[in-house]
């Protein structure tokens, strides 16, 4: 490694630690959120430097972009009691002390486990050779996509499931009524609306491109889904209310289709003697593409729903207060 590159990497690593600490101990919740967003951006740069463009893309889109939007949005709506970051530890001194101790111990334990993992790096490059060797049978050409949607599709299926469960949890917390409120939304603005008109179609195109690219290059369902969600959020901010105007049938199926199609696919070849989540080799490529398209739709819709729902809940909250 040359000296300038080493300097850059050192600076990145230092910045990551500073931002991580800042995201934890900044005086106001807003500063914590901003530090966390910067942390996500810096982390995606670090992944890019580590030659892991798949992770870098996902981190930039999810960690910095979407999580940032959700954090700031939730902050505006739920920090009615004030923005003091230390208030989240509890109001009276014993509670605060207790929660601080628990969180510190947990963090230390986590750091210790991470440190131990660092000292026991797998030798011989882990499963890289095996992954590369089976690539011709996987139906795709990019090793990361092959791992995500063929070798370890069980994990990916569960990840999509986490999103579905999160959506269900949000519905349980607020009920469907808070969600379906077509008559109110953010007031539209000509400048933001024209930006949305310009960007949203392009973003849908980029999402499709990322999805298609996943077959042979970095990209794939999660990245494409987040870009799709970003388009949805921009349209929502411009006052379009796409989610509220979808029919109940459409968004219920939209939320679940990625998860359930993946599951149906996992079991449908078992009568033929194949294992759970095992596809016939000749069909693997097209099947993976279908799974990815449906997963992208579900992920995009779910993430947009998170945003819309938090927005709707905040609006109803402030209406209640002004009454």
């Amino acid at each position: 490694m040359s000296l300038p590159a080493g300097l850059l990497d050192g600076l990145l690593a230092l910045l990551l630690v500073i931002l991580a600490v800042r995201a934890l101990i900044a005086p106001t919740l807003y500063q914590c959120a901003v530090a966390f967003i910067s942390f996500g951006l810096t982390l995606s740069l670090a992944w890019a430097r580590l030659a892991a463009p798949d992770v870098a893309l996902a981190e930039a889109a999810i960690g910095a972009g979407l999580l940032g939007v959700l954090l700031i949005n939730s902050l505006r709506d739920f920090s009615r009691g004030g923005d003091d970051a230390s208030a989240i530890f509890g109001k009276d001194l014993p509670t605060a002390l207790f929660s601080r101790t628990v969180i510190s111990c947990g963090t230390l334990a986590f750091a210790a486990v991470l440190g131990m993992a660092m000292f026991h790096m797998p030798e011989g490059g882990g499963l890289t050779a095996l992954t590369e060797a089976s690539l011709p049978h996987s139906g795709v050409e990019h090793p990361v996509t092959a791992v995500l949607l063929n070798y370890r599709s069980y994990d990916t299926w569960l990840e999509i499931g986490v999103l579905v469960v999160a959506m269900l949890a949000i519905f349980c917390a607020g009920g469907f009524e808070g969600f379906r409120r077509p008559e109110q939304g953010p007031d539209s603005d000509p400048v933001i609306e024209s930006l949305a008109r310009l960007l949203a179609p392009l973003m849908v195109m980029v999402a499709g491109y990322l999805l298609w690219l996943g077959k042979a290059y970095p990209g794939g369902a999660f990245q494409a889904g987040v870009v799709l969600a970003a388009a949805g959020i921009i349209l929502q901010l411009a006052g379009w209310q796409i989610i509220e105007n979808l029919s109940t049938w459409a968004w219920k199926w939209g939320l679940g289709i990625g998860f359930f199609f993946f599951l149906a696919l996992a079991v449908s070849f078992m009568p033929l003697g194949l294992g759970f989540f095992e596809y016939p080799e000749a069909w693997a490529g097209p099947l993976i593409l279908v799974v990815e398209v449906l997963a992208t739709l579900s992920i995009g819709l779910t993430l947009t729903c998170f945003f819309v729902y938090f927005n709707g809940m905040g609006a109803s909250e402030s209406r209640r207060r002004t009454r």
Partner: protein, 108 residues
Amino acid sequence: MFWNDWITVLLMMASGFFFLAGTVGLLRFPDLFSRLHALTKADNLGLGLLVLGLIFQIDSLLDGLKLGLIWAFALLAGSTGCYAIGRFFLHSDQKVRESVRPKEGGGE
């Protein structure tokens, strides 16, 4: 070093100057509008010069087009974001306006 490397270095240094000036302005300027001005200046000119400098390092027209698109989208998003912040500030109440004013004796 070839002639194009020298052009890149020059343009990058100019870009770095604008980013530095924009950051200093963001931290030191007295009110929200001048800070926004400093910030968007860094985005527009700094990133523009950076992209222009990188264009001298590429082989294909397609890569140059992609770089140009990056700049164009950053311009669009930057100006719209700046507009949105300014609009929010104009329509906000006294409490919000007080909160963005720096403490006595300069910025943080």
